[in-house]
Amino acid sequence: MKITKEIIERIEGEATLELQWHEGVIDFAKIKFFNFRGIEKILEKRVLYDAIAITPRVCGICSHSHALASVLAIESCFKNAGDVLHISQKAQDIREIILNAEKIQNHIKWYFFTIFSELQKLSNTPFEGNAFKDKAWFHAQKAIVESLKMGAIFSGQWPHGSFALPGGVTCDPVRSDFIMAQNTLEGIVAFCEEYLYGMPLEEFLSFSSALQVMSSVRRLSYGIETMIELGFDRIGRSHDRFLALGDSFLYEEPSKAVKTTVLSADSKHVHESLEHTFFSDTHKGYTYSKSAQYRKNYFEVGPLARMMIGKDVLIRDFHRRFKDATLTRVVARMSECAHLLLRTRELLSHCDITMPSFIPPKANPHDLCGEGIGIIEASRGSLIHKVNVLYGHIHSYDIITPTVWNLGNGDKENPSVAQKAIMGLDSIEKADFVFKSFDVCSVCTTQ
């Protein structure tokens, strides 16, 4: 059997795909991530609140998701100890605005820095990338700057802000801060309307058919057409099972979906596995990435999962035509970006600043003992932080990142989400792009 090792470049961090070939087709793929940093261990024995400052450093592109997951985990510790914290609606809104800013920049960055560039490369081999050259790349970078500026009005900075604590948020904005955030957001909306969707947001979000999206002439429709030309409407399909364990405006409650059937889900059924990792066997292990399962099954997390669980009409139409192919996955992420922009516009216009930003816990955090879990729907999917605390100090800390759900390793009989999507492909180039359609982040995977 032929085995090839492919280095995957131009992702968050680095990964290697070890591909096993049979008669010109990928029979199995091992996904390898190296360069483990050990944040869970670093947190042990530290004061509980240190997790809020340190866990954002798991990942430079989703640091505020980690900050929030950490805060939610500690708030759940307080709750389990009998101190149910009241988080004002204002603080909840500000947390969501900050989180949305991070997701909007992520989606724009992924499409314009990675996907668009990869598609051009696939359809035109001499293409050497668009970074620091292409006019649209600079416009996208400007939109990224603006998105994070909008969030930083409330978070102080991005990345690695520490804007929330158990009980609320630390900022105390005035109305002019909201005015500035609104104006900044409109700049991002204008960019997306002109360069991504080619139409007003509301029009895009009113669509119920894939054909309507493809009638535009902008980057998204270019991407869709190119993906169809290259066959990505038929490949990259995985288990067609989806999971979203955190809260989102896109659906009513944390749920799972098998194809189009949506059922409620509970994080107690999550199982984390060390199989195939260096942690379980230093010799036979081949990656630092753990893997996660729900009731012993691999589920895809991320924008496609959220849109399927939210029964989004447009993405359901893509799914009806193309199933969970690479094309559907890409469009779901960019469609979620439109929803996030509109949702953030609503939050900014309705936030009541007369409410308190922060209501401190009654219990002393130094006396806390017990467990807590915090779940956030981050850019790439469900992010879980679990903490076990002993008299205000971290006894153990466990992080399950979205990429662990999508990019962990199963085996040939029960492959993980990305493995399943890659198996059966007939070229390295296709495998590389299908892999990247999951918005790969190796730093989260090997935290």
């Binding site: 968050e12 360069n35 240190d50 430079g60 603080a91 960055k109 970078q141 700057v145 102080g156 948020v169």
Partner: protein, 297 residues
């Protein structure tokens, strides 16, 4: 003929990518691109593959290092090669090495996993001697993450042939000569020793109860601001001291006290600080006890 561009190669060690993403926040990117060619960046690629880059022998102007470093192959490797092989190749071809962020400068958070084997380029925390013992072309730009302007301003100064003056930790003085405290909106509360009784409010200083490291941390965060609009302290969150060699300290949200007295600001003697603090605290300044914006009064 357009002026010659400087060339950059960006290399990552043990990192969260935060410095790369902070760099992507640079607001005047077209101006940056007019002066620099990014020969390779891990998130963006380059004109050739990483392998092609390593096979080359030509020199370039700047090697930007992001992340903590290690000679130990079991801790750090780059695309199936020992990291040291990659770094030795690239560092020998670079005119200047710029450490972007606290990890590359001092070891940062990830050094805590194995302080003996993980370090910054020339420092292990405070101690001199890191990945290299001596190297004369290194500039440290600590911060978790580096501010995009710290990086781009420094690169542009060097590109223009200017000299960059460095402190003992090899940090540019024009950036790290300031303290985070400078420009903090809560300065008046610090002067009169009015504590922020509760987080989530505009009023009060975060130094006395909430662990703010602003008066001890070298950086111009509150002069140039983050993302052009704010900073940790402006958003009501204590400075974590992320530009210093000892980041992250323990109990980051708590003020460490000695006989119930906090640490004194940089370069101010205990006698001077506590005398003045005692006097300031003996006055009750009514205005500073009230809300900054009171709609009813």
């Amino acid at each position: 003929m357009p002026p010659k561009k400087s060339t950059i190669v960006w290399l990552q060690g043990l990192t969260c990518n935060g410095n790369s993403h902070s760099f992507f926040n640079y607001p005047q990117m077209p101006s940056f691109a007019a002066s620099f060619d990014m020969l390779y960046h891990p998130l963006l690629g380059g004109e050739g593959s990483f392998e092609t880059l390593l096979d080359g022998t030509s020199s370039f102007d700047f090697l930007i290092l992001e992340g903590a470093l290690s000679q130990d192959e079991s801790i750090l490797q780059k695309f199936n090669r020992p990291f040291s092989q990659v770094l030795n190749n690239l560092s020998s071809r670079a005119k200047t090495i710029v450490c972007a962020g606290s990890c590359a400068s001092f070891g940062g958070i990830f050094r805590l996993r194995d302080p003996e084997r993980i370090s910054g380029a020339l420092f292990r925390g405070k101690e001199a001697g890191g990945y290299w013992n001596i190297k004369h072309n290194v500039i440290n730009l600590p911060g978790c993450p580096v501010h995009p302007r710290w990086l781009v301003d420094t690169l542009l100064l060097l590109h223009q042939g200017e000299k960059v003056f460095l402190d003992t930790y090899l940090r540019p003085k024009e950036i790290y000569g300031y303290l985070v405290h400078h420009g903090c909106l809560r300065n008046e509360y610090f002067e009169w020793k009015v504590d922020s009784k509760q987080l989530g409010q505009k009023e009060g200083c975060l130094f006395y109860e909430h662990g703010c490291q602003g008066p001890m941390s070298h950086a111009n965060c509150n002069k140039i601001l983050w993302n052009e609009v704010s900073s940790k302290t402006r958003a009501g969150s204590p400075c974590l001291g992320c530009t210093e060699f000892d980041f992250p300290r323990r109990a980051l949200y708590e003020t460490q006290t000695n006989m119930s007295l906090p640490q004194t600001p940089v370069g101010i003697s205990k006698r001077a600080y506590y005398s003045l603090a005692g006097v300031a605290k003996s006055f009750k300044i009514e205005r500073l006890e009230r809300k900054l914006i009171d709609e009813n009064n």
